[in-house]
């Protein structure tokens, strides 16, 4: 290690060029790592100084967009919020997220996950379409009702949980932890009014939670603490309670508008939105 704290690390990267390669192979890069460098910074160093063809997906650099999920030393995580010295002493193994087809180098094809996510209706569904499209006020929801799903709403769809799931590793028809946790997030939302429809959807074609046998790895690797395994088990619990006719979620009426006596009106210290800068935006 030199005086300024720079230390050489070997980045062992799994490469795959769809034009030239039949199968992936590993390539080593010796990277002088400064203290505090993230894996993403190491990858940028390689791209700018050693091999401009190295490909990966990234955007926000701060663990919010969910683009840079990859297998780091055998564990799925985000490259942007993982410091190199926290996970390696000399050699850093990098590979694309498993259970997804490789498009190129460290770029997985996440489209199947998004398809499954969309299939399980990740949105509030209720009858009053007029109020949904042109809201006149907010729906009344207690802090306790919010707490039932808030944790699961932090999902950034990075795919790390899907890469860690052993059931999804063998069964492509299984929805997987990301779509199922988001399905529960809306199933339990007190503003939603589609419990029966969601139940039918989750019970058809083996897409539902019953193929999950709690390996728990999805929750361990989740970089945002979303805990998909918890969401899936709580979903099973709700479905069992519904079968026994004991579920409160299946019987409840969807949250209505805030009662008039509880409306606080608009706060005076919040400024009005600025005028549109584009003429036809209104």
């Amino acid at each position: 290690m030199s005086d300024n704290g720079v230390k050489d690390f070997v980045f062992r990267v799994r490469r795959f060029d769809p034009v030239k390669d039949d199968s992936p192979h590993y390539q080593d890069f010796k990277v002088p790592v400064k203290p505090g460098w993230t894996i993403l910074e190491g990858l940028w160093y390689i791209k700018e100084n050693m091999d401009s063809s190295l490909s990966w997906r990234s955007s926000c650099r701060m663990g919010v967009c969910g683009s840079c999920g990859m297998l780091v030393n055998g564990s799925p995580t985000l490259a942007c919020n993982t410091q190199i010295r926290d996970v390696a002493t000399g050699v850093l193994m990098l590979a694309p997220l498993p259970n997804f087809d490789i498009i190129r180098d460290l770029v997985p094809d996440l489209a199947p996950m998004f398809d499954k996510h969309t299939h399980l209706m990740p949105h509030i569904k209720r009858d009053d379409q007029e109020e949904m499209l042109e809201p006149t006020d907010q729906y009344w929801q207690s802090p306790e009702e919010l707490d039932q799903f808030l944790q699961f709403s932090y999902c950034i769809k990075c795919g790390c949980c899907m890469a860690a799931c052993p059931t999804f590793a063998t069964d492509a028809t299984f929805s997987g932890p990301q779509p199922l946790s988001q399905a529960y997030r809306y199933l339990i939302d007190s503003r939603d009014d589609a419990f029966k429809e969601r139940k039918t959807l989750l019970g058809s074609g083996g897409v539902g939670p019953w193929r999950c046998h709690y390996a728990g790895e999805c929750s361990t690797v989740c970089p945002k603490g979303v805990d998909p395994a918890r969401a899936i088990q709580l979903m099973k619990r709700e479905l069992v309670l519904d079968y026994l006719r004991l579920s409160k979620a299946s019987k409840r009426k969807p949250a209505g508008l805030l009662p008039a006596e509880k409306r606080l009106g608009r706060r005076d210290d919040i400024p009005e939105a600025p005028p549109f800068t584009v003429e036809d935006a209104s």
Partner: protein, 147 residues
């Protein structure tokens, strides 16, 4: 849009054991499946052997003679090991899958504490219990019965 060549990267069954650096619950998932399949196989073999009694005393004694000896003693002990593990881990899984051992949703504050951490003490207790029963069973199989 032109078709882009992709390389299939699904881990498959080998991914239950390799392909990553995983926590203990993921390996228990693998063991639960293997022991479950092992017990199912034993059940089928057991039915075949026991059904020989329907064909008379001679057939029964012949069948029992085929499944005795030190190799089958070890085999029966492995069935016992599989049964103990599968039963105790199964109790844990039932409690987890009914949301009893997972805990309620909570604020994800770093360092994150997931449902895996909530159920882990129970998992450790179950595995210690399984180990004790397996040791006692081994003593019974190989020491008490042998003498």
């Amino acid at each position: 849009m032109p078709e882009v060549k992709r390389y299939p990267n699904r881990l498959g069954i080998k991914g239950w054991l390799v392909g990553g650096k995983w926590g203990p619950e993921r390996y228990l998932y693998f063991l639960h499946r293997v022991t479950g399949l092992g017990l199912l196989l034993y059940l089928l073999m057991h039915i075949v052997v026991v059904s020989s009694r329907a064909f008379g005393q001679e057939q029964w004694e012949w069948a029992m003679g085929r499944v005795s000896g030190p190799v089958f003693l070890v085999g029966e002990f492995l069935v016992f090991v599989a049964f103990v593990f599968h039963a105790l881990n199964g109790v844990r899984l039932v409690l987890v899958e009914l949301g009893i051992l997972t805990g309620k949703a909570e604020d994800p504050v770093f360092p994150y504490r997931s449902s895996v951490n909530v159920q882990r003490p129970f998992m450790i207790v179950m595995m210690i219990l399984a180990a004790i029963l397996i040791v006692l069973g081994g003593y019974d199989f190989f020491v008490l019965v042998a003498h």
